[in-house]
């Protein structure tokens, strides 16, 4: 507990939260209609998404304004930091669910289908010809695919993301040591690396679909591959947009000082988190 008392800023009313709630409602309701092939689905989803963007602009706009006008105490800053940390923790647990599915499929369900443990009858009765190998290039039902090798694009992408974490660190040093040129250059470089990663990932998906026959529906190998890399890719996209917004705030608006730059730091934490997720992906989805 800090000794001196500073006023804790409690914002007055805001209409953004309820706009956000309605936006997510429209998106969820729309998406549900969409997957059931109802034409209204994509329309609702788009409207909802538009509202969400509006809400994000408005809400963050308010927060930035309040912060710039000095309404936020140090305690408030702690709230933001802790909130962001818990948010990242929740994201880790989201990925944990998919990693759990990957490990389970690989260590348990696939071997069991081939009779491991006391499951000899499972193999004999269900799919006698099934062979447990990982990556699962032939499912029990006989769907075939090729495995995605880790050499090549995945390796390059790993290097790209690792490099981007380093460049981001240089940018951070730039902000702390008040070297705007260093900050701008390395932040820009980080963003470019992020988008390069995404472009290569997109290319890899095309390659998987067209040449390897590796698809979302090619059995549990393809499932875990696409869901894990797909959600990771979405997070990279978000992180890159987050960093871009920070870049614009610095370049256009001149926000952030060497002491107060939590917006920057939050984006950086997020980026590093996405990076660590990738390292796990690279090891468990591609290499092993």
């Amino acid at each position: 507990m800090s000794a001196g008392y500073q006023h804790y800023y409690v914002p007055h009313q805001s209409h953004w939260p309820i706009v956000g709630a309605i936006a997510l409602f429209l998106m969820g309701f729309g998406a549900a209609h969409w997957v059931n092939d109802d034409f209204i689905g994509p329309i609702l989803l788009t409207i909802g998404f538009g509202m969400l963007l509006l809400m994000l602009f408005g809400w963050f706009g308010n927060v930035i304004e309040e912060s710039m006008s000095g309404l936020y105490s140090e305690q408030m800053d702690h709230s933001f930091r802790q909130g962001m940390s818990w948010f990242i923790f929740s994201e880790i647990m989201f990925f944990a669910a998919f990693f759990g599915a990957l490990f389970y499929a690989r260590m348990i369900s696939v071997p069991w289908l081939d009779g491991a443990g006391d499951n000899a009858m499972t193999a004999a009765v269900l799919w006698p010809n099934f062979e447990a190998i990982w990556p699962l290039i032939k499912t029990p039902a006989g769907v075939e695919t090729q495995a995605m090798p880790w050499e090549g694009i995945p390796l390059i992408n790993t290097l790209i993301l690792l490099a981007s974490s380093v460049t981001l660190q240089f940018a951070h040093m730039g902000i702390e040591q008040q070297k705007p040129a260093q900050l701008g250059f390395f932040l820009m470089l980080t963003i470019i690396l992020g988008f390069c990663f995404l472009a290569l990932q997109g290319y890899e998906y095309v390659h998987a679909y067209e040449e390897l026959g590796l698809r979302l529906d090619s059995g549990v190998y393809g499932n875990t591959f696409f869901l894990l890399t797909g959600f990771h890719g979405m997070h990279v996209t978000l992180g890159a947009i987050f960093l871009t917004v920070i870049f614009l705030r610095i370049a256009v608006k001149g926000h952030f000082t060497s002491e107060k730059h939590f917006g920057f730091q939050a984006a950086a934490w997020y980026w590093h988190f996405v990076d660590v997720v990738w390292l796990n992906l690279f090891v468990f989805v591609y290499v092993l």
């Binding site: 939260p17 389970y104 769907v143 979302l216």
Partner: protein, 539 residues
């Protein structure tokens, strides 16, 4: 909210006439745009009450159908929708939001904070809930009806054999999850960061402690639920085979992921109730809580253990014997910290100068009846015994003892305890006692015989049953209707308080109650503790 009504709030509150800060926005914007923890708490509580009755009316449909053997009122598919949506609404719509509502109201007051740490996000968390339940409940009116795979939505019931409602269910759960995670983040950050100077960890009221741990559990496992519903969605609509052996997956994998969420989830629904009981018992025994530190440690160990017991829901899925044994022993281990808690409550009452107002009555009933639920849990934890009990009414009896006479009774006790602080008037003690005895008798008529029909082999989630269960089921149904009716008394009591009918409450309200929340006037001013209060003595 009418002008008149709010005036009565102002006039009931004499302590802050000077206070320009205490001005309250009115009308539409007060409730929709609010950032005030008390308003948001009220919204949560009222929403949860509505959901309690929504889920409750589904339970009435179930009990009406089961009143006699054979099919009377609804067809089996609709019956399944009722059990499914009843469970979902009660878990995610009634119990969890009530606890968040109580935390909103009480945590800032208990720790001397001006409000929640992130007030706007607080509003967002709340308003996502009506959105989520609109989506979920709308499926009842769709072609093919609502989800019918059980609140546990096991694959392949929820994938291969489900209808279009699955996607609505999945996105509704996503919204509920986002809401819970944001709510939990807000609460945990508030407690970590906004405690008044001097409010050290070991001075925190136990309700606050249990909420720290609950919030942690929520943030840890709600994303896992989001993950598993996502896999259900892709399995059903996008051709993945996470839960389909033909593609190398496994339906049992669904159960592992689901219960990795699901078991901590049941503790999410009981830990805050433990906190409430730990506030009430000392107040009415007029003695400090026995074993405060051990309560904190017990809560933390329960939370830790709750991550390594999940497969006790899956004993009959054919896991390897080593796993069966592991999960049997860890599950039994949970009984130890739970026992510590029960012991401490009883020891707190020991030689106390007790009085038996309604909150205390519900608290005592909680202690006894929750323990019955804990003991049936222990029976279920014995793997070979569970082979017999699994999927029978015995399980239904178990979890209704812990959830209705546990979580819900804890909540009701808390509402009686704190409503004078919220509204500024005492509830009617006569009505409260009446509500208590009606509830107590009917709830046991409702759930106790379920142990017997369960042990005798009556399966759960089936609209029809063998003739030998007929008498018991008629009795159970009568208990069910009576319990449903008794809760109307509760609504009456609550609305009388909201309409300010009753004796004016003092700031202290209860002679033996301790803590910051009893030092502010009743009703609590719109803004409490804009400057942090001074913390004097222990917990």
């Amino acid at each position: 909210m009418s002008q008149e009504h709010s005036q009565s709030i102002e006039s009931a509150n004499t302590h802050h006439a000077d206070d320009a800060h205490d001005h309250k926005p009115q009308g539409f914007s007060r409730w929709f745009y609010t950032t005030n923890h008390k308003d948001i708490g009220t919204l949560y509580l009222l929403f949860a009450l509505l959901m309690l009755f929504t889920g409750g009316s589904m339970a009435m449909v179930i009990r009406a159908e089961l009143f006699q053997p054979g099919l009377q009122f609804v067809d089996p598919h609709f019956f399944n929708q009722m059990t499914t949506v009843h469970g979902l609404v009660m878990v995610f719509g009634a119990i969890m939001p009530t606890f968040v509502g109580l935390a909103n109201w009480m945590v800032p007051m208990m720790i001397g904070a001006p409000d929640m740490a992130l007030p706007r996000m607080n509003n967002w968390s709340f308003w996502l809930l009506p959105c989520a339940f609109t989506i979920l409940l709308s499926t009842l009116f769709m072609e093919g009806g609502a989800p019918a795979a059980g609140w546990t939505f096991y694959a392949p019931l929820s994938t291969t054999y489900s209808n279009d409602s699955t996607a609505f269910f999945v996105f509704a759960v996503h919204l509920m999850g986002i809401s819970s995670i944001m709510g939990a983040m807000n609460i945990i950050v508030t407690i970590f960061n906004l405690r008044a100077p001097g409010m050290t960890w070991m001075k925190l009221p136990l309700f606050v402690w249990t909420w720290i741990i609950t919030a942690f559990l929520l943030i840890a496992v709600m994303p896992v639920l989001a993950g598993v519903v996502t896999m259900v969605l892709t399995d059903k609509y996008f051709g993945t085979s996470f839960f389909n052996a033909a593609g190398g997956g496994d339906p049992v994998m669904f159960q592992h992921i689901f219960w990795f969420f699901g078991h901590p989830e049941v503790y999410i629904m009981i830990l805050p109730a433990f906190g409430i009981i730990s506030s009430i018992v000392p107040a009415f025994a007029r003695k400090p809580l026995f074993g405060y530190e051990s309560m904190v440690i017990a809560t933390a160990s329960i939370a830790f253990l709750s991550f390594i017991v999940w497969a006790h829901h899956m004993f009959t899925t054919g896991m390897p014997v080593a796993a069966e044994l592991f999960f049997m022993y860890t599950t039994m281990l949970i009984a130890v910290p739970t026992g510590v808690k029960v012991f401490n409550w009883v020891a707190t009452m020991w030689r106390g100068a007790m009085t038996f107002e309604t909150p205390m009555m519900f608290a005592i009933a909680f202690i006894v009846l929750f323990t019955i639920g804990g003991l049936s849990g222990l029976m279920l934890a014995i793997t070979p015994a569970d082979f017999q009990y699994q999927d029978t009414y015995f399980v239904v009896a178990h979890f209704h003892y812990v959830l209705v006479t546990g979580a819900l009774f804890g909540i009701i006790a808390g509402v009686y305890f704190w409503i004078p602080k919220w509204t500024g008037v005492m509830y009617s003690e006569r009505l409260g006692q009446c509500h208590f005895w009606c509830s107590l008798i009917s709830v046991n008529m409702l759930f106790f015989p379920m142990h017997f029909v369960g042990l005798a082999g009556m399966p759960r989630r089936i609209p029809d049953y063998a003739l030998q269960f007929a008498d018991m089921n008629a009795f159970i149904s009568i208990g069910g209707f009576l319990f449903g009716l008794s809760q109307l008394l509760f609504v009456w009591v609550v609305f009388r308080c909201i309409r300010r009918k009753g004796e004016k409450a003092t700031a202290q309200v209860w002679e033996g109650a301790e803590g910051l929340e009893w030092q502010v006037p009743s009703p609590a001013p719109y803004h409490t503790f804009q400057t942090p209060p001074e913390i004097k003595s222990g917990h």
